[in-house]
Amino acid sequence: MSKLTVEAARTMHRNMCRIRYFEEAASAKYKDGDLPGFIHLSIGQEACAAGVCATLKASDYITSTHRGHGHCLAKGGDAKRMMAELFAKQAGYSQGRGGSMHIADVSVGMLGANGIVGQSMPLGVGAALTAQVKDSGAVAVAFFGEGASGAGVAHEAMNMAALWRLPLVFFCEVNRYAELSPYETHVPLANVADRAPAYDMPGVTIDGGDAVAVFETMTEAVVRARGGQGPTLLEAKTYRWHGHYEGDPQRYKPEGETEAEMARDPICRLETVLNGSFGVDKAAIETVHRKEKAVIAAAVAFAEEADDPTPDGLTANVYAEGVGV
């Protein structure tokens, strides 16, 4: 197992706190009616985004899902511009054209959340293909959920990636529900990663609430990808504390399930490691929380004060101008 350093543990912790406070703020603002459209939050799943991205370089790529805020933040996205996008403001990453479901910062290798379930996988294949053809040394990570694992394109993507030995990691966040349907209603296997041998690639199932396990397993998969040995299928068993979308009454969840999961908060679990294994004291941990709360409060203030987009830009960026070469 690849050893976790204190720096990496602190980075993960900071990002998990940032994601948590970002999502909580988005949830509150949505409830207040300040955010239009639909939003899908990743509270409870922070160890996945933070653990994965702590193993990547800025030049590496990730492709994401409709539940992509955490991935974007962990890859280095700016909370202010993200929040402005959720608020549908011109200062947002997509100038209010994409919203929560298409949050992206390509400059840090975050190629976008995507509204079509499953497409993050072949898009990730494409990013890995670029890395292979250009011999750039970059790797790609395709985030997806167990809901996407039943899509035909999931098979197509894993088949191609294995066939071409692409520098890619398929990272499945099993948050127990595909939209409103529990895992058992649409996946016949106990573990999504059990499908990996069919593609002649390694498959590993881990506890997605354990940031250290995510980091260590991902580190090995990234080494393998960067070394030209091909893709890996990782599956992280995690849990979505909120509904599929904000406002989802979640009647499909058994009573007490969310509360039981909240008692195993991934942030608290990492703090136990920070304190126990790395000697980071409680005051230092509290400082991180205070700072990240301030980061998100500033992001919300920025978004609230930002200008609305104006209708004269309705056709902007439909086409790129001219030719590129």
Binding site: G92, G98, A104, L123, G126, L129, V153, E156, M160
Partner: protein, 330 residues
Amino acid sequence: MAKLKYYQAFNRALREEMARDENVIVLGEDVGESGGIFAQTRGLHAEFGGLRVRDTPIAENGFVSAAVGAAMTGLRPVVEIGFEDFLTCCMDPLVNQAAKLRYMLGGQVTVPLTVYTFGSGGVNAGPQHSQSLGAWFAQVPGLKVVAPSTPRDTLGLFKSAIRDDNPVICLFAKRLIGSSGAVPEEGEDFTLPIGRAEVRREGNDVTIVAISTMVRAALVAAEDLAEQHGIEAEVIDVMSLSPLDAETVIASVKRSGKLAIVHEAHAPCGIGAEVIARVSEQAYGALKAPPLRITPPFAPSPFAPVLEKAYLPDAARICSEIQGKLSDGL
């Protein structure tokens, strides 16, 4: 001028662009060592290697989406979809991804993707291998669609498509694969602008707008109309379905006052309907007769040769419909 067959012009365009830009790669079923069903990619694998000329599994949704991901990250993928009908298997990556990613991401990416395919009928390929679906894609902002009818246009438009920073769908015609035509000499870097129609025959009595395979039929019909009825038709090859060069059509209709559109795609909500709409909006007063659409009936393409011959418009039908419906006053 040199002379090339349609598929050879296609092959030359791809070879020239691959030599010109190392970011150009080719993906698709049988594009590699086999050289493709129509010999369209013959020699490319040997010249540019397996890294850049890559056979794919039969998985259009997956490999077109992968090409979108590659295009977003710095490559310039050229993707083959063997038959135009199979575009239905990759609608998501074309319509939801390629067409919208630049817009959805606020201009953070370009998607310089070229998808080419072989469509149209006339080779008894039956209902699932004979369709002309260009109008579907012409309704999607973010995509461009071209449909060249000659080896020269194939060379020029395909090269422009590959260089374009936007996703471009190139609709080639199976029936034209072996047809010959003049092209600029080897070594000349010949491109044609996307979005411009060309007048193939001049005439002041009636304007015939044709797409792909129907250009040749329209030209034959125009000669027959001149010889048999003294009607001089102007024949316009639209070449690009999106963006559509309505100006060239409107300029012609302002002279002729009569408009016929002929294509292999079905009439409802098609390119012909769009051409008529643009002319009606911008040159309503110029029309001296109701515009005419000449298309197959609203039914799938039949397999039986005798039925397909009756199904597809041809020169004789174009000639007789124009003579019968647009010849008043001529």
